[in-house]
Symmetry: C2
Subunit: 244 residues, 2 copies
Amino acid sequence: MDVTALLMRKLNMRRELSSAACEALAATASTQSEVAAGSILVRDGNDPTPVCSLLIEGLAIRYKITSGGNRQIVAVETPGDFLDLQHLFLKVADHSVEALTPLRVVKIDRAHLRTLALEYPEIGEALWTEALIEASIMREWLANVGRREGRMRIAHLLCELARREEAIGMARRDTLILPLTQEQIGDITGLTAIHVNRMLKALVADGLIEQSGRQILIRDREGLAAAGDFNPRYLHLDQVSAIA
Amino acid sequence: MDVTALLMRKLNMRRELSSAACEALAATASTQSEVAAGSILVRDGNDPTPVCSLLIEGLAIRYKITSGGNRQIVAVETPGDFLDLQHLFLKVADHSVEALTPLRVVKIDRAHLRTLALEYPEIGEALWTEALIEASIMREWLANVGRREGRMRIAHLLCELARREEAIGMARRDTLILPLTQEQIGDITGLTAIHVNRMLKALVADGLIEQSGRQILIRDREGLAAAGDFNPRYLHLDQVSAIA
DNA sequence: CGTACCCTTGAAAAAAATCAACTTAAGTGG
DNA sequence: CCACTTAAGTTGATTTTTTTCAAGGGTACG
């Protein structure tokens, strides 16, 4: 799809864009580019990169490393998310962003995106909403890691990712594409890879899910939601606009 | 101080305000109002309240409750913070906001604040920055709870609050006003009150802090920062504007 | 056909939660 | 001002959860 059209679709969902905003957007779009899996797009402690991107395909993570060398993943980005809206107005990156899989993105000049956010109310509202929903997800993760135990944390994560993938048309209902190692699942949930392994097995043993490679089949949707104390309200899905 | 002057001071720090923006701000400000300790300002699941506030005095917390009845505090707000910027563009509140102490606030109509954020680039930038810094703090908390152990989590929290209080002129360097019960500290750090108690005692025993009622004296600033793996970068202090 | 990298499993150790008293401090109303 | 009440802090013993350590097993890929 045309790059401008993608941006339009992403930003147009909540409000009609003025013609001025449309022109500004058209002036923004370059072409799509590819990013290799494992690439680090933003590095903690550095200036945020001069380019922001709209993620079109693939998964990216945002994370922090503690002095002990432990990693905490603070967000998973799916297609349709803006990479690094979180640093849009900050001078120093406080965490890193990495491509988990090969990505396809639309690069946007960061200074230009700031201008779009400030000068065009329709675009500003869309970007605000995006950023606030990402913060909302982080709050839920904080509650998940801080106040639920292992099994529940993982069940919750699976529910969230399944719902998000469903919302953007990435996976079918009750199917979850999970290109994460068990170590990475641990880095999201604050557990060790070994414990993640055991808890996943427990969920399988309880008939809630089924594993087949990097895909998960949700056998008991209700049960998994209950096991994970999952309520999708925090995803604010009615305010999310898909690009697909 | 005059309410308009407070708002000006808060929003003016990063950019010169245009006269139009100044007028819009002047039209915003009502009077200061008081909020009793324990009042719930925003309730999870409800519409976010029609009023947003600039916190002038006192402390407020934002929190979520899990199905097990456990509470996770996701933010502590200090004077100079906007209460509930996080819900500014969201339709449903995904967490609650509560006054921890008696508060003094300047109420701002939520719809009006949205307009200010979108129509006046100087104000928009200030509010964006505020919201993004709050998200940055949440990321650090997530890493704290997910990837550090008890003693470290608490040391980290003490360092953060001390630094933030110092930045806004609320407490002197090496002194920390901590109007939190040990249970509330646990709700921030993902620990039980009992464990918080033991870890605090450990920090005292190690000569890092001294307790005197609801105040804490930091005896060894460097040592506490090391014990808490604390690096203030994520606070983006150079981008924060104080009202005091 | 190695060689990574990931997954799996068991046993032991550590961290944190739970359970159960008990102490201190801070009001409140007589 | 004192007895009473309630919330918060303290401490020890026990249990649960999670991590750590250790060792195999599977699989993809050059």
